[in-house]
């Protein structure tokens, strides 16, 4: 039925074209086997920062200010690599599960696809996202301030199934996940998380993982710092103790003012940011109605409430949360605003289902000091100027 309608529609267009001396471009576009964006949209891109002289170390950020809804297109998913993107032949790639198990097991991708699969929407956020805000280098755009954050629909197998298939022993407390990148990056994951909601995923937004997201297989730890969702996953070592790997000692630990460092601080805290209007954008056409829209997320579970202020935090109104509100996923919030055309400071703050309220930058500095750039989640204000331009504070 739908096919017939669209066929008739196409026929009408074609008829119209033949009547016009100047044919619309629609008939000039081929139906490409793999689609492209509209030409006018191709300037929406990630920004990559690679360390000079070492290809493969660095990150690229998602242009959150340009996105709608909560799903990040796979091609715009942020990346953070420590030793580049490996080329992997999926036919040869396997996942080895060994250590404190009754029977060490090896799974091919075909094996994994035989197991009961789940598809879930989850954000991945780099632990260092927002670190610049903490250091007082406020991001001029949402991409600059929060772009190490993306959200996808992931498909794969619960890690629990694989551990059970190998017969995980009662004394097992950790699983060391290792990737097939050049540095063989490894992280130790607490068993509780492995059995709760950890996934071994091969699908992202309906197709295979992108190479930069761990093709053909990655670990996906909902709500945990991105570094622990090990990409190019090929080994799971079940142990009693963490490995104390490079990444979980030298790097992803949070140094406090007293000189001690928090370790295994996996959970990404409750956070939100207005993406429209936001830094670098301009409200066109002057005073009047403007919808304020943004994203909220928490590693603690579901976002319960998002409030928006348009007077620098003096008063707040509840924003509407777009359904479905999913656990450990981005949530889109929207709030109506009639702008009076004068200077304004707009910001959002989120509360999660545990009751935790997103703090301000000052409150984070008070609790943690300035020495760790990880797990920043402060309220982000934007300045709307009378000419409609929006900047960071």
């Amino acid at each position: 039925m739908a096919d017939r309608r669209s066929f008739l529609g196409l026929a009408a267009v074609l008829t119209a074209c033949t009547k016009s001396s100047k044919a619309p471009s629609v008939v000039e576009q081929s139906m490409a086997p793999y689609g492209e964006r509209a030409a006018a949209e191709t300037n929406i891109l990630r920004t990559a920062t690679e360390r000079t002289g070492s290809i493969g170390v660095g990150s690229s950020t998602t242009p959150l200010q340009e996105l709608h809804g909560v799903i990040t297109p796979s091609a715009l998913h942020f990346e953070r690599h420590h030793a580049g993107i490996p080329k992997i032949d999926p036919a040869k790639h396997t996942l080895l599960v060994h250590g404190l198990v009754a029977q060490p097991m090896e799974f091919t991708l075909d094996d994994l696809k035989r197991l009961p699969a789940v598809t879930r929407t989850h954000f991945i956020e780099c632990s260092g996202n927002g670190g610049g805000e903490l250091r007082g280098v406020a991001g001029a755009t949402v991409e600059k301030s929060h772009g190490l954050l993306s959200c996808s629909e992931w498909t794969g197998v619960p890690l629990k199934f694989l551990l059970e298939q190998a017969g995980v022993k009662p004394e097992a407390k950790w699983v060391i996940a290792e990737g097939a990148d050049a540095c063989r990056m490894a992280r130790s994951i607490p068993m509780a998380k492995c059995m709760e909601d950890a996934l071994v995923v091969y699908g992202q937004n309906g197709e295979a993982l992108r190479p930069g997201q761990g093709y053909p297989l990655r670990l996906l730890l909902p709500g945990f710092e991105g570094n622990s969702s090990v990409k190019w996953l090929d080994r799971l070592h079940v142990t009693e103790e963490p490995a104390q790997s490079n990444q979980e000692t030298a790097h992803y630990t949070d140094l406090l003012p007293n000189g001690k460092a928090r370790q295994f601080s996996f959970v990404m805290d409750t956070n939100s940011v207005i993406t429209r209007p936001s830094g670098g954008q301009k409200i066109a056409g002057g005073a009047g109605f403007v919808e304020i829209s943004g994203i909220a997320w928490t590693g603690n579970g579901k976002i319960k409430r998002v409030e928006v202020s348009t007077d620098g935090g003096k008063t707040w109104i509840d924003a509407a949360l777009e359904e479905p509100v999913l656990s450990r996923s981005l949530v889109r919030f929207r709030a109506p605003w009639v702008w009076d055309g004068k200077d304004a400071v707009i910001q959002s703050r989120a509360t999660d289902e545990t009751g935790y309220l997103q703090p301000t930058r000052d409150e984070i500095v008070e609790a943690r000091g300035m020495n760790s750039q990880y797990h920043y989640h402060g309220v982000k204000p934007w300045v709307v100027k009378a000419d409609g331009s929006v900047t960071n504070v």
Partner: protein, 180 residues
């Protein structure tokens, strides 16, 4: 390693356990030699370290060949891009905190493991265990953690006490309180 009969008996045991899983027939039992070849985990107590040894003097030369291009002659790092391996002692509780192998890393085994699996950056996984022990000894010596005469092996490396061994605490979550 095992006699054929024993091998068959072991395989039968494995097959029995295999048949009892919730998803029979999915995945293959991995043989011990397959696991051994893949298992590069080094634990903080030294489990997983291969047999081998190396001393500070040998490490000095190897460091010059494999490490100095990025980490500089005495481990001081280069141009902010390449991390320093030395310095920062006593700075962790200050605003100028500098995290290095010497000032921050809690375990000497992590130094060995990092070099073995991830270094040198453009050719990782190519150093032999003896070379890794030697470079580890040199880097620890640069930090005044071991003397110039030090030789390290799989037994002595885990015994090296790093200055910041007790610098890490479990995470209490959440740790920030916001006022409404």
């Amino acid at each position: 390693m095992f006699r054929p009969v024993l091998k068959i008996a072991l395989l039968l045991c494995a097959a029995t356990a295999f048949a009892q899983t919730k998803y029979p027939g999915v995945g293959k039992p991995a043989a011990a030699d397959r696991v051994k070849a893949a298992d590069k985990t080094v634990m903080a107590d030294g489990r997983g370290l291969p047999a081998g040894k190396g001393n500070v003097e040998t490490g000095r030369g190897l460091y010059k060949t494999h490490c100095a291009e990025c980490h500089n002659e005495a481990g001081e790092g280069r141009d902010k891009q390449w991390p320093a391996l030395v310095g920062g002692t006593g700075t962790l509780a200050t605003k100028a905190a500098k995290k290095t192998v010497g000032s921050y890393w809690p375990y000497a085994t992590t130094v060995w493991d990092t070099i073995s699996r991830s270094m040198p950056y453009n050719n990782p996984g190519t150093l032999k265990p003896d070379e890794v022990y030697a470079i580890t000894a040199f880097v620890l010596h640069l930090n005044n953690i071991v003397p110039a005469s030090q030789e390290l092996d799989e037994k002595s490396l885990p015994q090296v006490k790093m200055p910041n061994r007790d610098g890490f605490i479990p995470t209490v979550h959440p740790d920030v309180k916001a006022k409404r």
